[in-house]
Amino acid sequence: MLTDFFQHLVGSFPALLKGAGYTVLVALLSMGLGLLLGLFVCLGKISKERFLRVLCSGYIDVFRGTPLLVQILFIYFGFPSLLQQLFGQPFPFDPLVAGTVAFTLNAAAYIAEILRAGISSLGKGQLEAAESLGLSYIQAMRFVILPQALRRMIPALGNEFVTLLKDTSLLSAIAVTEIVKEGRLYISRTYAAFPTYFAIALLYFVLTFIATRIFNRLEERFKIHD
């Protein structure tokens, strides 16, 4: 019984590690792209243009107000089917790409709100000081506001990244061979559910543990002494 457990724990690991590659890839890509998109969504939400504000608030509300799994299914199954109806030919969508798109769009909504909180925590004195020196709004954002806001955001971004890592398990629903999917494939061959799910949980734990440490380091490294 015990030898069985360890045998499957070890036996499932190569497949799970391969899956972990996709997990980390999707998480990193979505985090990076989400930061970029989130930045624009955030700037839109705090802009003076009413149209941009409404658009970006709407974006945030939609992506935070609907389940991630639904978003993934919508993008992977929903959109290609709509395009197929419109243009009369199939639109195959790589599940990995669809998944990354879904995660990026979702992460951007959360990151935009994290950024907004970071910026508003600075108070208006910093922006005024920068603008009083003749810097344009964009320059003030780039050289004064965002460097500070990003530093303050590091813990919250760490949380977001850990959430992202764990949520990639949802991609098993669209056949991306990430950790969970690989695990289930292994179980279907061996019927070893307990040791495999144990290994899956362990692997996620190790990944999030490492990510948390890295973000703690970053936080320490970029601390502003004020």
Binding site: E128, L133, F143, I224, H225
Partner: protein
């Protein structure tokens, strides 16, 4: 140098400035005094358009400035501002604080700019703090860095918004000393202050504001020794006690 005509400013329903005409000539040091809420800070902030006036005209050296982004930017690069709460950039060290705006706005080269910044820090007595971060400075030191930072843009006018109000009494003197030195050097200055001693000693002219209007103005010593209006008398009486 600066000319303001018919300036009006409201925040929502509240009328803060009710028609201000105000001029400062080149090399002049003007102190704006008056009770809290009289609109003196708002007037100062309208001069570099940090607050946008509802009505009125602002011109610098004969050029009238509108609230178009490009003009606002140009005006601000000619007008230095020092804030009550310093507003130094905490993620940059002292030298970087001073160098940021001239590098990005004036596109000065690094070598000459570094020289200029070092010279300015020497003038405010902080050459040895160039590598320090604002978080490690005292209030007085922060404010002196803020003055150097504004001067680095080589402005034509310097605005001071209650520059000593947030300071411990013991360091007020060092900031005022830097401002005196600046005035002596011929800088055009507009200073919102409660430091009557500074006004008496350094200002050429004192402008007394109350309820969004200029109530009385005159040469500093004369005005402070012998105000004409009841409002100014009452204010100065309470300030001196």
């Amino acid at each position: 140098m600066i000319e303001i005509r018919g300036l009006q400013k409201s925040f929502g329903e509240l009328k803060v400035l009710k028609g201000i005409d105000f001029a400062v000539s080149s090399g002049e040091v003007v102190c704006l005094i008056g009770p809290s809420g009289s609109g003196k800070s708002t007037l100062l902030r309208c001069i570099n358009l940090l607050d946008t006036p509802n009505q009125g005209e602002i011109s610098l050296e004969g050029k009238s400035y509108q609230t178009l982004p490009k003009e606002v930017k140009e005006l601000r690069s000619e007008v230095g501002m020092v804030f009550q709460h310093f507003n130094l950039f905490p993620h940059l060290n002292v030298l970087e604080n001073v160098m940021l705006a001239p590098a990005k706005v004036r596109q000065l080269e690094d070598g000459p700019l570094r020289e200029l910044a070092t010279k300015l820090l020497r003038e405010v007595g902080l050459a040895d703090k160039a590598a320090a971060y604002p978080g490690n400075l005292s209030g007085g030191q922060k404010q002196r860095v803020a003055i150097a930072r504004a001067l680095a843009m080589q402005p034509k006018v310097m605005l001071f918004d209650e520059p000593t109000s947030a300071l411990d009494p013991e360091v007020v003197g060092e900031v005022l000393a830097v401002m005196k030195q600046l005035a002596k050097g011929g800088m055009t200055m507009v200073v919102v202050t409660h430091e009557m001693g500074f006004a008496r000693e350094v200002a050429d002219r004192v402008v007394f504001m109350a309820d969004g209007k200029i109530v009385e103005e005159g040469p500093a010593r004369e005005f402070l020794a012998n105000p004409q209006t009841e409002r100014a008398k009452a204010f100065l009486g309470s300030e001196l006690k």
